[in-house]
Every structure is written in structure tokens, then in C-alpha cells.
Symmetry: C2
Amino acid sequence: MAIVVQKFGGTSVGDTKLIKAAAQRVIDTKLSGKDLIVVVSAMGQETDRLYDLAYEIMDDPPPRELDMLVSTGEQVSIALMSIAMHSLGHDAISFVAGQIGVRTDSYHSKAKILDIQRERVDAALREGKIVIVAGFQGVDEQSNITTLGRGGSDTSAVALAAVFGAELCEIYKDVDGVFTADPRIVPSARLLDTISYDEMLELAGMGAGVLHSRSVELAKKHGVPLRVRSSFNRQPGTLVRREDNGEAKPLTGVTFNKKEAKITLHRVPDRPGVASTILHPIAQRNINVDMIIQNPGRNGVTDVTFTVPKSDLAEALQVCGQVASEIGAEKVLSDDRVAKVSAVGGGMRHHPGVAHRMFAALALEGINIQNISTSEIRISCIVRDEDCDRSLRAVHDAFE
Amino acid sequence: MAIVVQKFGGTSVGDTKLIKAAAQRVIDTKLSGKDLIVVVSAMGQETDRLYDLAYEIMDDPPPRELDMLVSTGEQVSIALMSIAMHSLGHDAISFVAGQIGVRTDSYHSKAKILDIQRERVDAALREGKIVIVAGFQGVDEQSNITTLGRGGSDTSAVALAAVFGAELCEIYKDVDGVFTADPRIVPSARLLDTISYDEMLELAGMGAGVLHSRSVELAKKHGVPLRVRSSFNRQPGTLVRREDNGEAKPLTGVTFNKKEAKITLHRVPDRPGVASTILHPIAQRNINVDMIIQNPGRNGVTDVTFTVPKSDLAEALQVCGQVASEIGAEKVLSDDRVAKVSAVGGGMRHHPGVAHRMFAALALEGINIQNISTSEIRISCIVRDEDCDRSLRAVHDAFE
């Protein structure tokens, strides 16, 4: 029988009533003739409550013990979900990661799934049971409990869908699907019927937050069709899948990121390898550099601009101060009152002039673009943070 | 190095501050030159909270899923306890039952421990780590999570002490130890320095509630010295150990049980096997029969009296009605307003006249004894429930 994986997030299982409603949805799918593997997150704010307990005791708890602690949130949810299935007259069985061999590496709190054993799940499905699996968790080679990082339950669901050859992986959220923009900021935002993996990745990476990047990467790698939909209504939501040739639109969505600050090294002597000289010591401190822009000036000097998370700005500036004096840059400038506004669309590469339309829309609003960077299917502009919302609306509406 | 097992109950780990205090006690023992295995219960009312969630969904949740659910309570505690040790500068590692092979049978919610693997714990102890183990839980042969029933963490602690040859198993409670009587009822009650396993078993079985019977049986079987003490002060508490010859007192403690009702089959034809005919169908319904008293009367008839839990009285009476008509008993009487008052003392067997002193003390108070039964080291009397407290005080003070 065809297998469907359904994943329910924390707000979809926030209390026992919601859990029962989710169980009913699973059963409806089961009755339509599918085998079901269900992945559940921790209830509501349970994961935060558990982290808080740990941080009450110490500031930097050992990661292994933190994983031991927070993995209980999903264990509670799977047991309650299974009980809910039984209360509705259906046979179900719940498994924690260790029981079905969700093997990961040993990087606690950000582990990667290496392998999943099929035997026990296959046997349960053969017996007609609905299989319920704890998301977000795994076990390493020594059977230590690991977790996959925030949003990791999406990744668990996709990994299970890939291993068991599921025809579909449904991700139930408290939103209706993926929108062309955040509807709270852009009133004209529309729900997308479909979106490609690549577009979703660009949106996820930009902070749109509907799906975790890693889960989308994994779905793309294994060709798992993902459906993002609401657990609070029966709308079909958004299907994330391989791009259909020719069909891609120039603009699929707009998004923003206010969590980054900008650093510019001004008047750096323009020698080969200078960018690497600047960025290497920053990478060594595990600071994630995003946009990197190098504009050669005159007289053999250049400006190098890049963005880092605001939370890492102080440390990055310290490193830059040292590097600047070593390489003879004139000065280091920084700005943490910026926002990155991005337009994403798989059709961009076939529709010339998309960038122009975006810049024109911003100009028409009198918004100054500080920096620009692009990928094949994305154009990002740095603007002042107070211009962020207006920029989003302007760009979004220019393409409607 | 000598191993000590320390077990902390739910009230001893009720919040993160208490967990840190418990961690400090463990560390103090470690610094005195011992290897430590620590067993922890779920925090405060956590187990009840989890059961309540399940019962919100359905009245009789499947036991396997219930065990999956409630076993998380101990997992949270061990992780926080380990974090607390680290916060105090000591290396510790927490284990759920599956990680150290606490193998049980498959009787969910009342599983029995069959075996514990030594390798992983031994390795951690060799590395100088404090080992923290989730109490109350095990795994069966299919790696399903099981629980040992209420009070099961005491049993986990004793089983670990037995397997690892611990020199002592300390059970930390919210009471100072084992008393000669419940101090809330008998103001003159005293804390006992020592008590034998057998005396403790009689007291535990009678509802004294300080230790779970199964943990005491296991300690007796393996000769594990148990110390019951408070986690809120540094008093030594009560040592439970093998009886020293000659030292045993005629009376170690008095206790009571108000949770049982009495059933009498009146004027039963006195044939061999009649008691078994009556009790067999009751046992078949899993109703626990405690005191059984048979008094032969005249004319070939006899009265058979026994006690059952009050919660099972209605069902037991239904069975008795049927049996009574089958065997020709005259009538079935019952009384649920009774209490069982027991005096326990290992020295009873060498001190004649203990029973007499007990009965005289009750008579002096004008308390009517309805029924009497005895074991080698216990005398129990059924009295009216409103006479219970006075009976306890009278018997207790008669032996001071």
C-alpha cells in the first residue's frame, strides 16, 4: 500500500483536544487506503519549558544532557497521539528514535540523520498499525540520544518519507501554506499552490520560516513531494516539488531578514586573496557570513562589504579591526539598522528585466538600495530597516 | 572503589533548586571516596500530570503507550540532575533504562526487572563519572519501554545496588526515616535507627508507605543494606538490614490500613476445601484478598471472613453471592467501616505475651476487636474505623 508521512507541529498538538483532532485527520487518510507514518513535535511550548529548566540550573548545559532532556517533549506527544488513535478505535504504535534505529552522528543539538532501520516500522505497517515516530530526535552509535536542532521534526518526517518511499510528506502547520509574502506585512500576499524546492530553499534561507532549510534540501535530494498545509482547516495548502520546466514564474515570493548587520572594510588594498584574508578569521569563529560584496574602487583599493548575524556583530568587528590594520584597510564601518529584502522566483533566469523591475519599484517608493547581491533565482537588496515593510509591499505589488 | 547507590524521590527533586541540593549531596558522598550510581524519580507531581493527560483522551489507554508517556518524567529528572552535577563542576552522565539494558518482562505498568547490563555503567564509573539512572522504567525484549509501577524507583535503586554490589543503597525521602508509628496520629512515635527487612515488609505491606514492598523484598533477597533518610536534613535516618540475632524488640512499630473492607460468609457447611471454593473465583478476578479467618462453629458449619480492597468490594460481593448459594452458606455480610491495626516486631516470636499486651491495651480503651490474624512477627486486629487512631496510640504506648 502507498505510504503517506504526516507531520504535526507543536501548535497542531498543543493540547489533548488538538491531538485528537490531528489523530482524526490521520485516520481519515488511513481510511482512504494509505499506510500512515506520523511524525509529531513536542506540544506547544514544551520544548521551551524544558530548555528553561536546564538554563535555570546553568548557562551552558552539556549538550548530551540537554538532548536527553528536550527529547522527552516529542516522546510525550507520540504516546498521546497513539492513545488518541486508540480512543478513536484504530490500532497505532509509537516509537522513539532508538526503537526504530534513527541513527545520527554525535553532534548533539544539531545532529544529522545517517540511517533509519526499516524492520520494525515495516512489521507494524504490515499489521495494519498506524506508526507514530518522535520527530527531532535520533540516537548515535553509542545509543546516546541526539536532537536535530529547531525545526528538526520536519527533517525527521522527510527522512522517513525518503527511506520508506512515501508518495507524499504532509507537513501540518498553523499556517495555510507558503505565501508570496508575509500576509501580516503585505496585505495582497497570496497562497501559492506550488513552489519548487529551490525557491522554497531561497525563501527558507531568507527567514520565511515555514519550513526548515535542511528538510527542504533533503526532500529535494530524494525527490520527496512535500505538502505544507494547515491542521486547522481542510485546504490543500502548498505543494513543494521539482520545478516544472517552463512553468516557473519570474517572481514566486518576496521575503526579508532583519537579523543581520552589515560590515564594510573601506579602501582595502586590492590584492588577490584579500577577501579570503578578511573572511577566514571570521569563519574560524563560527560566525556565519551571508552576503559578500566587493566593489573595486580606483587607485588599487576596494571596498569589501558583508553581513553577519546581529548577535555576532561585536565579535566580528573585533576580528575586522585586527585584520584591517594587518592588510592596511582605511577603516571599518558597520550598520546594524539594515534589512535584507529578497525576491525569489525560479523563472527569473528566463525572464530578463526582473532585477530592473525590482529596483524601479523601490526607486518609485524613494527607497535607497545600499547593496545588491543575487543568486540564479534570487535578488537581495540591503535597505534601511525602517524601509523594510514598504520595500516588501512595493516589490510584491510590482509583480502582481 | 566501593559503590553507593543514592535514590531521590519526587519531592526531593521537585524543582531545579532541590535538584541542585540533591546533586550537592551526591557530590559530598563522591568526595568521601565512593563511586556513585544515582537513581531519580520524576519531579514532584509530573507523573500524575502525565497520567492526567492520557486520561483526558481516554479512560483505559493502552498500557504500552501509557508507559511510553510516563517514563518521560524520570528522563527529565536524570538530565536535569546530570546538568546540576556539571554546574557544580563534576562529571556525570545520565542513562535511560534502554541505554544500560535494564531488561524487564513485558507486563506494562507493573513490569519486573530481569537483568541489568554492567558494561556501560562500569565504563562510566571507571572514567570517574557519576552515573545517573532513570528509575521506575525498563525495556522488554523488543525494546518497548516498561514501567515498574508506583514506587518503582525504589526497586530500580535496589536492583542496581544488587547488580553492582553496592555497599549501601540510600533512599532519600521527604520523611526522616521509618517511625514506630505515623507521628501525625501517634505523637509519641519515635524514629527507628534500624529495622529488619522482615519488619519493614510487614510495615510496608500494612500501608506504612515509606518503602515499596517489592524494593524491600529485593533488598532482602540480595542482602542490600538500605538507608531511608531525609533529603532535607543530614540526619542518618533508618537502616534496613538483616535482623541481628537476639537483638530484635518485641514491638518495632504499629501501623494501620483503612483501605480494606470485610466480608463474612455466615454458616458455611464445613467441608474440606470450602475456603478455596470461596476464594478461587475472587482470585480469578484479580481481587487481592488479605486477612482470611475461618472460625468453625457448631453443627458442622463455619464462618469464613476475609478482607478485600474497598474499591473491589462491590465486585467481590457479587461473586460471594453466587458462591454462597452454590455451597449453601446462610448469608453474606460485609462491612466497609473497618480498619486493620497491626503491631510488628521481629522479637515477638521470642517474647510470649505480646499479643496479650496488645489486646489488653485495646480493652483498656474500650475498643472492640472484631477479628484477629497473626504472622510470625505481626499481630493484626480488625476494629471499627473510627477506633483506628485511638487503637494505634493505645498499642504503641503500651510497649514504650
